[in-house]
């Protein structure tokens, strides 16, 4: 088979989920109409649906859709593994890669190619994405089991996964952008999956518009990149020193005065795309709201796919950002500085907001923003490999945390339902008694869940410790430690400047991370139940609970052990166990950068192949201290003496007036509303009043008058001139036809006589003329 050649196999990876999407959408998405009741989890009952019939997916469609979706992902998983196997068979993988492409369209002198590329960066994503996605799919079987639109959900996350895999295997920026945008659409539809909820559809619109702003800038960057280099292929740009040098030496037309190169402009444009997609300050506002979607979607967006895609694109394009500087020797380019500032600020900024949240998912959302800030900052310091490493480990433990949090919410809803059914008062008057809706996501309604949901507790604990960077035994420690080590290297060797602060900011952020994680664990699982619902919270029994716990266990495994592929070689004791010769991950990943020999002759290009940062006790100690310290503080404040029901958060006392600020996200949303939304609404209104009604309408009215008058004039002309001619011709033709039709006798022999006459005349002419010609 042609397609089982290693170079062509990657084409098949995204096919499975995409085909699953098509099949589910077109074939197995069958619904039946049933009267709307409270039992359907439309994410909250919608008042408009009273007495109406709503579509509910049939059981058979549900089963088919689940099966097809899972098969699609399994397909992607198997092909990914085959591809990885092929990749390891390639000699000197990284320099030699698996790729195939075809010309998609000719654009003047250059050709736009579409293709696939398997290099080390792709391989690590192919390890992570299919596993995480498969876990999310499995989890969704149980989580969405009672949702009336489960088929649609599977179709959308299949498309989401397909788009992500397309993005991963793409060999050029344009194809990456395609996957990127498809994911944007999917995120819109999935965040607004329960569109009956006002907050959900508003969140969807917010997420979409916010990321669009960044995407437009990114598209500008891509266009400019294509304009300068004439290609969009990664290998042609990132692995080709000539093109990099060209980018560095080109002076952009618009920002030429600012002493920047084309590489810098393009880099910053592309980074802005990531800022939107990976929710960095100041475009982070959409991500906490995205929690309105179903929890598997949150896991998908925050762990496996969307935000990872942002970081992945930065990893991919790193040589472009670093071109012109030398991050390993303290010479930073503008894009690197930009990334370092944005990333480190976001890391700390988001962490501070996380400590004051009461929603179990919101904490995780801010934690995601913070961790993404870590990665961006790492890239900003040239710690390319550390960023990729943290991307992988973070994906695993954040997916785990989200799904565990989803389990908690599911359990809480279950518990609430249980309470209603067995409570003293009847089911119907419940809503009348309680004006507000019970919030199953509020941590202050929980407590003591470790007793009723032990599997969830232990896996959440593992994920939380990994997130906190609990030393040695968790994956998060190793990746975060490497980022801190790189940051320390920059600080210690090249000292001051913007990069000097990065280390401290990240360390502070790490401390806060450990603290809010422990706070969250304590509030959720520690102590005793603060509400009736929490007391009865459980996942139920049977297949549903299995599908919701099994992925957690599998991901917990990765959350612990994924870190050991990247243990530094010179780490005491462990280094010699896990990385006897070289840091495996570091060694593998570094190959996707241009070789030193290749860039040696180009003065403007750095040596892309850095050694792993040397072992230094200071960052390691810092890691230990911030992680353990944060955890201790959290334990001290929340676990040691658990909160009682109705008791206020000790943070409020501790932070005083700062707490409302943090809880309200620094009023960023309000700021944006005042800064952008209101002015644009006002502007729109002014446009309506002055421009539309005043200016344009007046012009239109005048024009209309003129034309009405003209029309009257023409009408008079029409009546006698045009009509005269127009009617005259048909009448003439009619008369002529009437005269002519007398020839049409319907007698076939008469017609033949005419034919003969014609033939005879033609024959005579021929005879006479040819006779005359011959006679001459």
């Amino acid at each position: 088979m042609e397609f089982f050649k290693p170079d062509l196999l990657p084409w098949l990876i995204p096919v499975g989920p995409l085909v699953a999407f098509l099949i589910i959408t077109l074939a197995t998405n069958r619904s039946k109409m049933v009267p709307a009741t409270d039992h359907h989890e439309y994410g909250g009952h919608h008042p408009d649906y009273d007495g109406m019939e709503v579509p509910v997916v049939t059981t058979r469609s549900r089963i088919f859709s689940i099966t097809i979706g899972v098969i699609g992902v399994l397909w992607a998983l198997v092909i990914s593994w085959m591809t990885i196997g092929n990749a390891f068979n390639v000699h000197h993988f990284g320099v030699e890669v698996l790729q195939s492409n075809f010309a998609w369209m000719d654009t003047g002198e250059t050709t736009l190619n579409m293709g696939v590329l398997i290099d080390p960066a792709t391989v690590i994503m192919l390890v992570m994405v299919p596993i995480a996605v498969l876990m999310i799919f499995t989890y969704s079987i149980g989580y969405m089991a009672h949702d009336p639109r489960q088929s649609r959900f599977f179709a959308l996350i299949s498309l989401f996964a397909g788009a992500m895999l397309t993005l991963v295997v793409a060999d050029n920026v344009l194809m990456l952008f395609v996957g990127w945008e498809v994911m944007g659409v999917c995120s819109y539809m999935l965040i607004g999956f329960w569109f009956e909820k006002e907050s959900a559809y508003k969140a969807a619109i917010k997420a979409f518009t916010t990321t669009r702003i960044a995407d437009v800038v990114m598209l500008l960057g891509i266009v400019y990149l294509y304009m300068v280099t004439g290609t969009l292929s990664y290998r042609d740009i990132m692995y080709n020193p000539e093109n990099l040098e060209l980018l560095v030496t080109t002076t952009p037309i618009i920002f030429g005065g600012f002493a920047v190169s084309a590489a810098s402009v393009i880099g910053i444009f592309l980074i802005i795309g990531t800022v939107g997609k990976s929710a960095q300050f100041p475009l982070h506002v959409w991500l906490p709201d995205a929690m309105e979607g179903p929890t598997p979607v949150s896991a998908m967006i925050h762990a496996a796919a969307m935000v990872s895609a942002g970081i992945f694109s930065l990893v991919r394009l790193y040589p472009l950002f670093a071109a012109g500087g030398d991050p390993h020797h303290g010479i930073m380019t503008q894009p690197l500085v930009f990334m370092a500032v944005i990333g480190s600020f976001t890391a700390l900024f988001a962490a501070t907001m996380a400590v004051a949240q009461s929603d179990v998912k919101a904490v995780l959302a801010y934690s995601t923003i913070s961790q993404l800030g870590f990665m961006v900052a790492a890239l900003g310091m040239g710690a390319y490999i550390a960023a990729a490493f943290h991307l992988i480990t973070h994906a695993f433990f954040k997916a785990l945390l989200f799904m565990a949090a989803g389990s908690v919410i599911h359990g809480m809803e279950h518990g609430e339902h249980h309470v209603h059914e067995h409570g003293d008062h009847g089911h119907d008057d419940h809503h009348d008694d309680h004006g507000h809706h019970f919030d199953p996501q509020d941590m202050f309604n929980m407590g003591g869940l470790r007793k009723t949901m032990p599997v969830t507790f232990w896996t959440f604990l593992i994920g939380g410790l990994s997130l906190s960077g609990f030393p040695i035994i968790t994956a998060g420690f190793w990746s975060k430690d490497e980022i801190l080590a790189d940051a320390w290297l920059v600080l210690s060797e090249y000292g001051s400047g913007t990069h000097g602060l990065v280390f401290f900011m990240l360390a502070a952020a790490a401390f806060l991370t450990a603290f809010y994680t422990m706070r969250q664990i304590s509030l959720t699982f520690g102590g005793d139940a603060r509400t009736e619902a929490a007391e009865h919270a459980n996942l139920g029994k049977g297949l549903v609970s299995v599908t919701m716990t099994a992925p957690l266990i599998i991901l917990a495994f990765f959350a612990i052990f994924a870190g050991f592929i990247g243990v530094p070689t010179d780490f005491p004791i462990l280094g010699s166990i896990f990385s006897p010769e070289h840091n495996a991950f570091h060694h593998f990943m570094a190959e996707s950068l241009p070789l030193p020999e290749a860039t040696a002759g180009y003065g403007t290009l750095p040596d892309y192949h850095p050694d792993a940062p040397p072992f230094n006790i200071i960052p390691v100690a810092t890691s230990f201290i911030v992680a353990l310290g944060g955890l201790w503080l959290g334990w001290f404040m929340y676990w040691r003496k658990p909160l009682k029901a109705g008791e206020v958060d000790p943070m409020e006392k501790f932070l005083g007036p700062l707490h409302p600020i943090l809880k309200n996200r620094y009023y960023m949303d309000d700021l944006y509303i005042w800064l952008f939304v209101k002015p644009s609404q006002w502007f729109g209104k002014q446009v309506i009043v002055f421009l539309d009604k005043g200016v344009i309408d007046t012009i239109l009215h005048v024009i209309a008058r003129v034309f009405t008058w003209l029309g009257d004039l023409v009408k008079v002309l029409n009546l006698w001139l045009i009509d005269g001619v127009g009617d005259g011709i048909p009448i003439a033709i009619y008369n002529f036809g009437g005269w002519l039709r007398r020839m049409q006798t319907g007698r076939v022999q008469q017609y033949m006589l005419f034919i003969l006459a014609a033939a005879v005349i033609i024959g005579l002419v021929l005879v006479v003329s040819s006779g005359a010609v011959t006679a001459q």
Partner: protein
């Protein structure tokens, strides 16, 4: 000019058959006699084909025209017998006659006056029926027209049966 031998005598006999039969066809009042005249004419044409060393065509001519088409026409004559006795034979006799005559003159002029292509070709080596059969099934020959012709014939037969079929039965 023309030596008197079997072939030339045959030619004249066949000419009398052909043209006489043809005139009979267009002049006779009785249509059944017309068919017989038609057969006479066709028989003469078969004779020409024999003279032109195409015996296969002559046999097929007799088989197809006299054996099939003429019989068919006879049947048609008999089936429409109640109205075949038309009192007037002709309509538009004079213009038709003039037209035919002028056509005949033009054609004769074309074939006889050397200027207009009265080219005398020497008789070439004769192909046999065997060659003809081979040519019909040869891929470089006439196999496609042959098959198309057979298809045409089948289609025409089916169509004829369909058209002539009684609606009631």
């Amino acid at each position: 000019m023309l030596e008197l031998n079997a072939i030339s005598i045959g030619f004249f006999i066949f000419t009398i058959f052909t043209l006489g039969g043809a005139i009979g066809v267009v002049t006779t009042r009785n249509l059944f006699q017309g068919t017989v005249w038609l057969m006479v004419s066709l028989f003469g044409i078969a004779g020409y084909m024999l003279l032109l060393s195409a015996p296969f065509l002559a046999a097929v001519q007799i088989l197809v025209y006299i054996g099939a088409i003429a019989i068919l026409i006879t049947f048609a004559v008999m089936l429409t017998r109640s109205v075949t006795r038309v009192d007037e034979r002709y309509i538009r006799t004079i213009p038709s006659l003039i037209g035919s005559l002028v056509l005949f003159l033009i054609l004769i002029a074309g074939v006889t006056i050397p200027v207009f292509g009265g080219h005398e070709g020497a008789p070439v080596v004769v192909k046999t029926t065997h060659d003809f059969g081979l040519a019909l099934v040869d891929g470089n020959g006439y196999v496609v027209p042959f098959m198309l012709a057979s298809l045409l014939l089948t289609a025409a037969m089916i169509g004829a049966i369909f058209i002539a079929r009684d609606e009631e039965t």
